[in-house]
């Protein structure tokens, strides 16, 4: 009961804070692709894989008072940051503990920019394709972002080192 809500609160608690809605979307997607058990359904949108269900869940968690949302004016854009409230901490006490490898994954993701995570998650979205077709697809759907060859290489190297849910410590 409310287990899926609890998983999101736990995720943000492990990260301490997540800066940016887009970043949170991509982090959960990447975790899901690494077989961590998140139920939110994703589709390809403007900024890559996006889950309406996750947006809704986060809004609900803010309304419930388990997450706090902070809005920051960054000049040319507005950024939303999320952290867990005291009530949220009490709420997750009812839930099962998160997977041991999740904090390792989170520490790798949280230090990256949302642009980089957008690239990583979009490449993962097309991971059923050969590498050259994956790159071609990213250039088609992200034609305005002009990802460089170096960025592509960094993203592939990053993906290769990501821990999966079943990785042995």
């Amino acid at each position: 009961m409310l287990q899926e809500h609890a998983k999101i609160v736990q995720f943000i608690a492990l990260a301490n804070e997540v800066n940016g809605r887009k970043k949170l979307q991509k982090m959960i997607y990447i975790a899901k692709k690494m077989d961590f058990p998140f139920a939110e359904k994703y589709e390809l949108h403007m900024y890559g894989p996006y889950s309406e269900e996750l947006t809704l869940r986060v809004e609900e968690l803010c309304e419930m008072g388990f997450l706090a949302e902070r809005c920051e004016d960054k000049g040319s854009y507005v950024q939303y940051s999320y952290n867990v409230t005291e009530e949220g901490e009490r709420f997750v006490e009812m839930a099962e503990s998160p997977h041991a490898r999740l904090s390792d994954l989170l520490s790798r993701l949280n230090g990256k920019s949302s642009r980089f995570l957008e690239l990583v998650s979009t490449l993962l979205y097309f991971d059923y394709l050969p590498k050259d077709e994956q790159i071609a697809k990213v250039h088609i759907v992200k034609n305005k972002l002009n990802f460089s060859e170096d960025e592509m290489n960094d993203a592939f190297a990053f993906i290769a080192e990501l821990p999966t849910c079943s990785t042995v410590s």
Binding site: M1, H5, H45, Y50, F66, S76
Partner: protein, 432 residues
Amino acid sequence: MDYKHEKLFEEKVFKDPVHRYIHVRDKVIWDVIGTREFQRLRRIRQLGTTYLVFHGAEHSRFQHSLGVYEIVRRIIDDGFSGQKEWNGEERLLTLCAALLHDLGHGPFSHAFEKVFALDHEKFTQDILTGDTEVNKVLRRVSPDFPQKIADVIGKTYPDKLVVSLISSQIDADRMDYLQRDAYYTGVSYGHFDMERILRVMRPAEEQVVIKFSGMHAVEDYIMSRYQMYWQVYFHPVSRSAEVILMKILHRARHLHNSGYKFTYEPVQFTSFFDRTFGLKEYISLDEGVLMTYFQWWRNEKDEVLADLCDRFLNRRLFQYAEFDPATEYRKIGELEKLFKEAGIDPEYYLVTDSSSDLPYDFYRPGEENERVPIYLQMPSGELRELSRSSEIVDAISGKRRTDHKIYFPEDLLAAKRDENPLYDKILRMLKG
């Protein structure tokens, strides 16, 4: 003449209660409709369990798919054809994508998907590109044609205008289902002036835009959508039936995984329970198959499975109560304990469910939103986001409404409340 441009000797029409007639002249479209994968859509209801509330809602995804095709055909042939922003070479691709956009829906679409963690859009793409009859027809156009359609449906096709006709905040899919679902449920919401909207749609570089004078018709469409969601799609009784349906599938999977011997082996489900299914197994399922198993499972020795199937078939649905997760999440924990003490498995008989809808949203510069807005084309040619001109749309833009409910078998609890004080306590907690 090549297959792509081949026309039927004479036009075929399907009589349709929403669009009057569906017109088919292209040989490819006619051949696609005849494939077994497309015919399977006749056996999948458009609105899942809604027929248990609105008895007319027995219409299928087959009808809806034809309807979306017809709307797109009218937009292209009667509106866009000859305009410089529209690439006429994309006509057949767009028509096929419209016709086939729901090809991968499974039985009771969303409920089935949730239980088995499936994605109907992925199945649509797999059916298009896999070893199927529909793939064979499409490959006759060109070897890469099935993949191009899959890309349009997956929203990765380079021509965004084509994608936006099938999937956007004002697309042919929504325009058909709102009207069709209103017609078959019999409700008076869901109606809007589609003819007018089609007349004011204009092709632009990356999406369809609306001529400024059509703003009020679009307002009507957005309000229709808002009302249909809350009056029909999120109807709590229909959600109750869906909750039971999902619990049946959960229970059957649980029994299979724990080695239970079914009287009627769930042959067509085992690959789903074991997650070894392929395209063939997926395509072989439809709502008739599920209903047949529910009939058999009603006589299973497992009391939970038998009871849930009987509830679904005979509409003995769960009762519901309002629930506020923010203040009542502890209550759920207490109720789970009480259910267990009373010998009722809360895993199957105590369920929380949320419905939520955002009637219209737009990208605010600088915000990290994801929805492509509806643009009005002003007399000067400038594009202006809809809610900046429409006060009605502005009033509901970005406003999400969410509704939480808790479902439980009131009949079972009420029948024994006098002999078991726990049942009475549970009922008082649930009903206040």
